[in-house]
């Protein structure tokens, strides 16, 4: 403590010096990066990268290491295209709000933004973003043989399209898998669960709150992207269908069984506080050794393997989502993709597309992942080809047993673009369902009452 006793003068001095340094550092780094950049892999594309030179575009992203890596490569993009890119980092909850305000008011502030896939129906219904098919087909804008759009993971591509039309290009994605403590499972002779029943049995076998170990944890906090991220998979695995005879249905026997399963697991085998947990909290708890398993995004692997705070490194294994009573596995997927804001000049739209093509290209994906110079390595690379690259596979398998296999198998076989109802009204529906799930979990309402109430609230939304 004694070391922190600066006089006012030294404090001011340090502050001024630091500010001066801060001002200088980025420009020095930018120059260096631009000089070192080898642009040949991009120039082999048969398009004129310089066709929108001189434009400046602003892009909203969320604060995350995978976007930081991309931002640090922006000078290379500038050298390649002559387009200036300004990045604005906005937290996830606010980026939706800000981009919707920008899109509704047609102000064209953000040329593109890291978009929530569940918002594309809303965007497309209002024609706020451009359909991308014409950009992909235009030979002056896209070299199809070079860009290899089909190489981008199909499940994420499908999530960024509406009625077969592409509206966004995935940059970084996630898929939900099972994560478990190999050492604890081995000690009791358990195997990672292949179905939900075994998942519960495993959790019960390891649940020992008195020793500060709980069987499992699932997202509990209310929110369209929180408890409504995990519940839809369970609902679909129990045979639930969002649309019955064209009508959005959130109640009924399948829904009740699914919600009952979730509540049972959360009440019996998860820490009480998990009712308010989101994914970082689950990963934090797992990294401290207090949770024996969880089902959440594969990207959380980097948190539970962070040497600075994790106590479980080398003790982690991965598996696919357990099968439901219907025998189906329904994993949830997520990706941050880039759409083109329709409220822009044609030249700016071209500049935006060039940026999207650059960011989603195999070359940039590799440069921001296993070939990135910094410490943060991306686990959400968008290219099937990179997931087969031995260098990348080796890096990813460092996260623990079976990581790449579980992730790839899930992405190929267990995803379902309709794991959540993809309708423009989703944001409101998601919030309504989130509240219903939470009220049933906390015991404020019975399962049936909570779901029936949600159905009553959801119906008018679909009419309006």
């Amino acid at each position: 403590m004694k070391s922190f006793a600066p006089t006012r003068r030294t404090f001011l001095k340090a502050g001024t010096a630091a500010t001066a340094l801060l001002g200088l550092a980025p420009s020095v780094m930018r120059q260096a990066a631009a000089q070192e950049a080898d642009l040949a892999p991009y120039k082999s594309a048969k398009i004129d990268w310089q066709q929108a030179s001189g434009e400046t575009i602003t892009i909203a992203v969320i604060p995350a290491s995978y976007f930081e890596n991309l931002i640090s490569l922006a000078p290379q993009f500038k050298a390649l295209t002559g387009i200036d890119v300004r990045f604005e980092k906005i937290p996830p909850a606010q980026i939706r709000q800000k981009s919707v305000i920008d899109l509704t008011s047609k102000t064209g502030t953000y040329a593109t933004h890291a978009a929530d896939p569940m918002y594309y129906s809303l965007y497309a219904a209002n024609k706020w973003v451009e359909p991308l098919d014409s950009y992909l087909a235009d030979k002056s804008l896209t070299d199809a043989d070079w860009f290899k759009f089909d190489d981008i993971i199909p499940a994420w591509r499908a999530a960024d399209s509406v009625d077969g039309k592409q509206y966004g290009v995935p940059y970084d994605g996630e898929v939900t898998i099972q994560v478990y403590r190999k050492d604890l499972y081995d000690a009791k002779g358990l195997k990672p669960a292949d179905d939900l029943e075994t998942f519960v049995k495993n959790a019960a076998a390891l649940n020992a709150p008195n020793d500060r170990i709980w069987g499992t944890a699932l997202r509990g906090v209310a929110g369209a992207g929180q408890n409504m991220y995990i519940y839809p998979s369970i609902f679909r695995e129990f045979g639930g269908q969002w649309f019955k005879g064209g009508k959005l249905t959130v109640n009924g026997p399948e829904a009740e069984a699914a919600l009952a399963w979730y509540i049972d697991v959360m009440r019996k085998y998860a820490p009480t506080a998990a009712a308010n947990w989101n994914w970082p909290d689950i990963a934090d708890a797992f990294s401290q050794g207090t949770v024996a398993s969880y089902i959440d995004a594969h990207s959380s692997a980097s948190v539970i393997n962070n040497p600075e705070k994790s106590k479980v490194i080398g003790k982690v294994g991965y598996a696919r989502w357990p099968k439901g009573p219907t025998g189906k596995r329904v994993s949830s997927i997520w990706n941050w993709g880039f759409p083109i804001n329709a409220a822009q000049t044609d030249k700016k739209k071209k500049a935006t597309w060039l940026f999207i093509q650059w960011a989603a290209s195999a070359e940039t994906q590799a440069r921001t992942a296993h070939r990135f110079a910094g410490p943060a390595k991306r686990s959400g690379v968008n290219r099937s080809s990179i997931w087969k690259d031995p260098d990348y596979v080796k890096l990813m398998n460092g996260f623990g047993d079976n990581f790449v296999e579980a992730t790839m198998a899930t992405l190929q076989s267990d995803t379902d673009v309709d794991w959540r109802p993809r309708v423009p009204q989703w944001p409101a529906i998601g919030d309504t369902m989130a509240t219903a799930i939470q009220s049933a979990l906390s015991g404020q309402a019975t399962i049936k009452a909570a779901l029936d109430d949600a159905q009553r609230r959801v119906e008018p939304m679909m009419r309006g």
Binding site: G15, L21, Q94, K98, P280, E308, K309
Partner: protein, 279 residues
Amino acid sequence: MTARRFRIIATLAITLLFLLAWAFPILWSVLNSLKTDSDVLAYPPKLFFTPTLEPYRDVLFGSASILPNLVSSFVISIGTTIITMLMAVPAAYALARLRFRGKKFAGFYVLATQMLPPVGIIIPYFLILRNIGWIDTYQGIILIYLSFSLPFAIWLLVSYFEDIPFEMEEAAYLDGASRMKTLRRIIIPQVRGGIAVTVVFVFLNAWNEFLFAVVLSGNTVRPVTVAMFNFVSVEQTLWAKLAAVSVLAMLPVVILGVVAQKNIVKGLTVGAVKGGGRR
């Protein structure tokens, strides 16, 4: 005697309990800001640990430095406070003392702007600023902050002005002072406490504002309340850094509070005594 002692002890105990409940989050932030990430997550929570200044070094001088954001917050809060006070003091005086047509309506109108829920006016504000090119500028954010700090300041100050006996003013007029001079020399010194209270509240509101700031700011002007959220990333929450930023963001307000305390206490008692006397 024992009954009295018991009362004192009970009062003390209850006060301490409330104080603890109030101070706990702040103590918690201060403690966590001095820990490493692994100590933050340790269970049971460590009260004794090797303190580190790493979180502070990171948030001040690291790649995601919040120094520019602190500067933004200062410019916005000080700008808002100065302009608000320059306009609110005369306005409050006028509402308290002068007789003019539409006074009642003006008073109500000032209050009415406070009744709108902020969320409802974000989009119109965004559009206005966007059209005049003031998004992500100091003047833009200060202008919007004025729209709620000004009515608040005026209504707070009106009550202080009303508390000053009119006889004092009359005495000044009889001695030949003009209205402006009376205001400057007689009235304002009397409401110093009220002005101090208002300054603190206006500064505090501007400093802590988040809802408008997140929508109307950008890369150039970004107050610390918005920047702080970047330590809650989608991948993980950087607890130690978040705590360090919170402590840094708290400091200016705490300092202002301590400085203004003398005046605030005076201001509060002036009002209280007067109110009591009237009855």
